[in-house]
Amino acid sequence: MYRYDEFDATLVAERVSQFRGQVERRLAGDLTEDQFKPLRLMNGLYLQLHAYMLRVAVPYGAMSSKQMRRLGEVARKYDRGYGHFTTRQNIQYNWPALVDVPDLLDDLADVEMHAIQTSGNCIRNVTSDQYAGATAEEVEDPRPYCEMIRQWSTFHPEFSFLPRKFKIAITAAEHDRAAVKVHDIGLRLYKNDEGEIGFEVIVGGGLGRTPYVGHTIRKFLPKKYLLSYLEAILRVYNLEGRRDNMYKARIKILVNAEGIEKFAEMVEAEWAQIKDSGIDLPREEMERINAYFAPPAFEKLPDQSEALEEKRASDKDFARWLRLNTVGHKTPGYAIVNISLKPIGGVPGDISDVQMEAVADIAQAYSLDEVRATHEQNLVLPHVKKDDLYAVYSDLEKADLATANIGLVSDIIACPGLDYCSLANARSIPIAQRISERFADIDAQEELGELKIKISGCINACGHHHVGHIGILGVDKKGEEFYQVTLGGSGAEDASLGEIAGRGLSSEQVVDAVEKLVGVYREHRQDKERFLDTYRRLGAEPFKEALYEAA
């Protein structure tokens, strides 16, 4: 994992002390709220419905056990004993007091964490594949590039006041777990026909009120040019992006207004000017950063574990958890473990202080000290020996973290919605809870297979509803909650935007609606088709019919 050097440590410490002074001045009345608000937002502090909310950055979702333990302690000491993992691999605290936030940030700085650039019109936390460095699917570990981007973008003076916020995601695997096609910039590391590894550069994707799947503006970018090419894109956007209307200010609007070819030309022209001007890292510096991500000391193990096979045969629940929550590792004898934060009837992404500490202990004992957050609001233990899987499962079970449902109908993304968020029009979490309760039967869930339900409480789409196989968007109709259903979206390598199924449904109708949609799938699916495949093959009609027949 990356460790702070003296520069990182200094700049985080300085920022906390600067913010401490700003908070003092605000409390003393020397700063007005108008003056203070942009300063608190630069430090990840929002004001929500019930209280302040602090969003803490988890760079590309990677945490050490020490960091995870500290997140748990912070939840207990400064908040109400829990945190919420978000769709950007970050964690949010829902109840911190303004007067405590400087101390809270000091506690985070002690473990190399902060809340910088988790808000505001700057380059936000870079997100990536939660299986990075562990999966055999990747051509290379994407994390060193995430770290290079993190360092380059932190306090980048030219890009501190962009027209709007800016999100970058990187994948190095064919199967896209980082949703790169719906980011401002998506980067896909791959090997070209000449056998060289480089980036496909995708620009202008995004959700929100004007959703787009991104366009490829460069098929192949040699790795060494990563930063200069990003700088060229950001510079074009910074100069040409709209600032007169915040709803038209994201790069996707610019890309689609200019047309993809014209936009690509603008970037290439800018890049031609700056590509050899010293923005890109020299090889030694790239190697220095790479070294932080050198594979940990994996043991040489047989790929089969007898201990594991014995338990698999004798414990049905364990066997199911293995099937649903673990995936193959690049190293023989190891596995990647997913920890679901979606218990039946629970709040997607929420985790208690005690659970965070339990995950920290398990990661320290069994996962080479590493934990990851996923954009689907779950956690990952990336490096677990197969021999240890039963111990990990047992410890997770003790912490109520052994729900087996990754990728299934109850593994729902939901934004905080109107239960917490001041922007929301409707509640999201209760809908997720009721759907997961309706489909609680795990045998039936497993039989249904992969089905991604994503719920947003407003058009800003933090719950990614546009890319849900079934998407649910909360809207407000004269003070009442209504829900619009979209069908056929995907945020993966087969990215697509869902289509609106028809008129909005009441809170009571929406869970039945999901069941009807699932019914159509069950009736028509062929072979091993997923819900999404059946939808794509049949089109929207049979699903719409089921939704609205005599309803």
Partner: protein, 93 residues
């Protein structure tokens, strides 16, 4: 009828302007205003920058319960998250 609400500066807690001109956490105890009165009271409340942030007017009924278009939002603010009955004022803490 209107009441003045905002978030307490130091901890962000939801508060309402009471009859005694002090902030209360109990909406039922909030002062209620009509028309232009409400606007001038709000302006005075907004000027209390060391105590409060994001002050605004909400609609309430005669019993002091949230009313109108934002009733659901203001009910959730007044009580706490509907998915965590152990948190917020609804928890009785």
């Amino acid at each position: 009828m209107k009441a003045v609400t905002g978030n307490r500066l130091g901890d962000g807690a939801v508060v309402y302007l009471g009859d005694d001109d002090r902030w209360t956490t109990d909406l039922a105890a909030a002062a209620r205003f009509e028309g232009d009165d409400a606007k001038s009271v709000l302006a005075a409340a907004q000027a209390r920058v060391k105590e409060i942030t994001d002050a605004y007017l909400i609609e309430v009924d005669g019993a002091g319960a949230p009313a109108g278009r934002e009733a659901l939002r203001e009910t959730i603010r007044k009580s706490g998250p509907t998915v965590r009955l152990d948190l917020g004022y609804q928890a009785g803490a």
